[in-house]
Symmetry: D2
């Protein structure tokens, strides 16, 4: 993988949070070179942001459509674009770049409607382009290892799956006091109809699906808005049923006082159980039925999945940025493989894609339908 | 409190588990003297058990009705009876002793039907006798402290309540291989129609109610039996709504592979949150909204509720038996107060009673009704 | 073991701490009946304390010598005496009861000089009486299990042993503000020349010896007094060498701000290591060389040593009082065995005795000699 | 800081560990561009490594002296060199680049003798060049915060300092079975006379000094070699005395079975204590005297020192690479400030330098002197 891939970015100008994270992630493993951007819809901010990032001014675009066209026309045009705009623009931007034959790495959620999402998935398939979706937490080595343990049957038949994602930063109406991150996330026009549900509920849902390899068949859910005046939900909880008979609970809350970023998963099977907490991502707790708990650690545990996603030895903690970088690294491995007509390393196929995004949108739709129907059971 | 109360016991003969725990609990704080018993329905076992416990043979009874009559007639008759039979006998035994004017300490669940439970509550009120119900976990100092924090408004208005009680000892069909504890608990004739729901679901429900001071107004629940051939549920989960708008989740499972006795509670309010895990009962985690988590510890934390339930200094762990003993001590304090026409210490009023038992039976009924009605929402 | 042993107590009157703990411990497993006492050197307090404890006034003695004589003369005299006076009286009291042929359970430290201690050990041997010494922490099931793991070779050859015992309650000069517990512990006339060293340093030392089965051959130590005006040390640290080449560190401190009762042990061998923390006594962490850590738990772990010291199932925490009670239970098993000319259960032989006390006094002497000699290396 | 600094590297060719870590660290915050290298003393490996890293072949040097000369002569020559060779070469390489007027970032330990180290410190001062030394663990936000807490007096006067650094990867003679990392570290010709002492003992020593702001005045130490045939120590322990009367313990071991990278610090002062564990670097435990413990977290805790070293919000874990990158970022801030004649951000001055390296060499010398002198007390 000796050539760095040429990366463009849409969104992520000055003041943005997740754009900077994407750039860190792209840089960490040295697989990408950021060469173009449409960093802001505000031209002055776009230009200033491009200068900060040392972009060639000629490749700092005021409009993402222009960028897609121009980059597709260059011999040294970008290989892949990172989309880090607010949610409501994901579909349009991704469409423009896919149509131009450019690979896509998109922040989640994929889109603000299931129809949009399905159209993108179809387009990506038709254009044979990679469409990576950054479900960050799937990049953790111990999450990859958990998935491998389940896939290898170490847990037996799964019976109970519990996932929770708790934050407290929206416990008060901070969107009305100038918090930019809160502002767009609680505005249905920018974030879609799902608030907490779309922002972190989908992460929780994805993590459970990713690790277990199971998709629920039915759910009964409730969304709720605790903060007066807020236009979207800030809490969601659901009961889940799985095709194999397993049961599950999911809760995501952004009003969970005192919580930072508590994404926690537990999975119980007939043979064993496991627990993972995102805030302590270098460990995974594994307990055989009737037995004692072992703390599995990144770097020490055996298995190709974790090894593939690990940079430094056991006892040297890796974190969120490394997990994010793993998605970029897996995308680079897949894109390079396509460009060189070679098979990608099989471990890189754990990368989350537009299909995971569609599943997330389907989950959102089901929750909203359950809520609209008196919290009734809905087939997924 | 210089006279030890005279204690009788029904059930708890050789081979029983919870009877021995009750006796340890009664002994710990030296408030009781075990003087009489109907320890087994099997006369030989009853006699042998009485001998083990050094009871006067004249006060080892073959029948609880006879015991109630005989003890009530003695000048030195028992003050209080501990009922540790299988669930289906609780009501009949308690009724016999209440009618005889004898105070009752009963293992949970109170009864196998709500009607039975309500009748007992009414009888206890009419006879003006204490009817303590051993919701053991309410005896932990840090649970008492959590309740005090909530009552004092330290958490603000409650928003999200999550309680889970996970065990793994019924993950396999051990009732069919001679496990006596499993046997009666999974036999509807002895344990009632609720399996896991009645055995530990009620503990989870009670803990959440006890700490928050809130009773849910509605629930949607699902019970499930994972182990083939089992006649009662071994897993239950529910979504809860509270009168003040709070939301909750409850799960109790006896097939949660790898879990010992994981009764965990978290409560989030507008001002702060708290977490308690029964397996680490000497600590309570408290986090203000937006702030840092503090580990409150038994013996070091301030507050009358925890101090009342504490025997040894901070850093000297207390456990399950001490929590159980606390219920016995509180019962002794209340009985002695009644006997001496003095007010009991106010902290002893935290003792759980027949009314908590009725609430538990109401919860069981609601869950079963929800299950029968397609897991619909049911008013409590 | 159907007869309760008749127990007497010297010390432990109103206001005492450890006497009440001994009584709780004696009561828990129902092997003892407290029937006699010389509870205080102050006659009024002795009588009032005896009344609180419902002793026959005829068996409440004003003087321990009188008690030893009188009880030895009775047909129903005490089997065993618990000595819970300040340290400087242990030797005289124990001597009186041993001479009278009465078994002894003595709080630690054994005595205030090695000579006294050795004399008692010799006397106990000569009189063939049990002399139990309450090194409480050796009664924890997981400490017993740790010892069994080492003895079974699970750790291989031991290489590094680290023990720490940290408290903060003497970080300020509380002895000068009326704290009774602090008062006698910091008065060399009552506690002996070793302060923190004798009070908790000996516990740390014993725990390391008990678990590893090793006694250091040499040490270099330093004692220090941080609190101005204090007459004894409040901090001690030492480097240790063992006969097999292992190295060790020991620290005990009563000025360790923020610590409650942090007695922590780690042992590293060629094959594996283990860690134990007294404040979480239901678990033991075991890690094979190069491998992953497993949390062994009381009630779930296999092994006769832990099972012998366990009362309730896994996940139902036991604590300090149960550990203390274990020593009483083991003493009862040994005394009863002697009385009935039967071998005691082999697991009861883990009980700590006067010989452990002598080893502790030898440790104190070595530390004081090292300190006096410029913190030089001293042979033990 | 809009220009990336031009970075060269000496050492770190194919197969090396720490060189890759330095490159990741340099890349993360986008302050550096790697443009030159003398990556291996083996010319073929040097060239291949340079190609892997996409260096201009003209700037891939076979010899570090040539590189220093050539780069100093270029208009676009490197601003700074990263030295990641085995220890015995640090001094010669650093000298060559300092003499050429090039800033230095050097892996630790600084050198293999105190004299060498002091000469380098003097040279750096004379040439007015930055000489950063990568004591990685000082780059963690919570370590920076701990230091700030102590400096602000939040702990009061320090009394007891305990630091341990435990690993297990040298518990067996892996250097004789081809482990390259073990090979040079246990070869006195390459690593110097100190094994574990130099490799990780110095990290432990530095962490304690960095956080407390105190340097011990005296120590008594013991080194030991557990693995037969090994030429350097694999275990070191020491008692420490500080100028203010504080006492300390230090242990570093590479034969501590089961340990990954357990660098743990506790500091007790008159007002409060703190605890830090490198394996959980996003948290710091703070306990006031007599009070309850609070978990301070990266991203949520207040204070300029932690904020300066933080990239992502609370609950999004950072790790070892971010800590390493912080040193690179602080070096870039200081170099850029010098180049632009502006004061560097004050928080960047926490960067560890050649002076910390000299202190570490002084510690090594004192330990070796104590060991040679029968483990006597040595003034530092």
């Amino acid at each position: 993988m000796n050539r760095r891939l040429r990366l463009g970015m849409v969104g992520g100008g000055q003041g943005a949070f997740i754009g900077a994270v994407h750039r860190l992630a792209a840089r960490l493993d040295d697989c990408y070179e950021l060469v173009a951007g449409a960093l802001s819809s505000d031209p002055a901010r776009a230009a200033a942001s491009a200068s900060d990032l040392r972009l060639d001014p000629a490749r700092s675009y005021g409009d993402y459509r222009e960028m897609a066209r121009a980059e597709a026309a260059r011999d040294d045009g970008i290989d892949v674009v990172a989309i880090v705009t607010p949610n409501h623009l994901h579909a349009a931007v991704a469409t423009a770049f896919l149509e131009a034959g450019i690979h896509v790495i998109c922040d989640k959620p994929l889109a603000i409607s299931l129809a949009e999402g399905e159209a993108m998935a179809a387009l990506a398939r038709r254009k044979q382009r990679l469409f990576a979706l950054t479900y960050t937490y799937s990049g953790y080595p111990m999450v990859r290892h958990a998935r491998e343990l389940v896939a290898n049957g170490e847990l037996g038949d799964l019976r109970y799956i519990q996932v929770e994602y708790l934050q407290d930063w929206l416990a008060e109406p901070v969107e009305s006091t100038g918090n930019k991150q809160a502002g767009w996330r609680t505005d249905p026009a920018l974030a879609g109809p799902a608030g907490c549900l779309g922002d972190i509920g989908t992460h929780a849902y994805h993590l459970a699906c990713f690790v277990t390899g199971l998709t629920p068949s039915e759910l009964a859910a409730e969304t709720h808005t605790f903060v007066p005046g807020r236009q979207v939900d800030d809490h969601v909880q659901a009961m889940l049923r799985y095709p194999n008979g397993a049961r599950g609970l999911l809760v995501a809350s952004q009003i969970a006082s005192g919580e930072e970023n508590a994404l926690n998963l537990r999975v119980h099977g007939t043979r064993a159980s496991l627990r993972f907490s995102q805030e302590s991502p270098n460990e995974l707790w594994f307990t055989p039925q009737g037995g004692e708990t072992t703390r599995l650690t990144r770097g020490r545990v055996e298995g190709a999945a974790a090894a593939h996603a690990t940079r430094v030895p056991a006892g040297h903690p890796e974190g969120y940025l490394e997990a994010f970088a793993q998605l970029y690294r897996d995308a680079a491995l897949q894109i390079t493989a396509q460009q060189t007509n070679t098979p990608p390393p099989s471990e890189s196929l754990a990368l989350t894609t537009v299909d995971d995004g569609v599943a997330g949108l389907r989950f959102i739709d089901a929750v909203l339908a359950s809520q609209a129907g008196g919290n009734a059971w809905i087939k997924l």
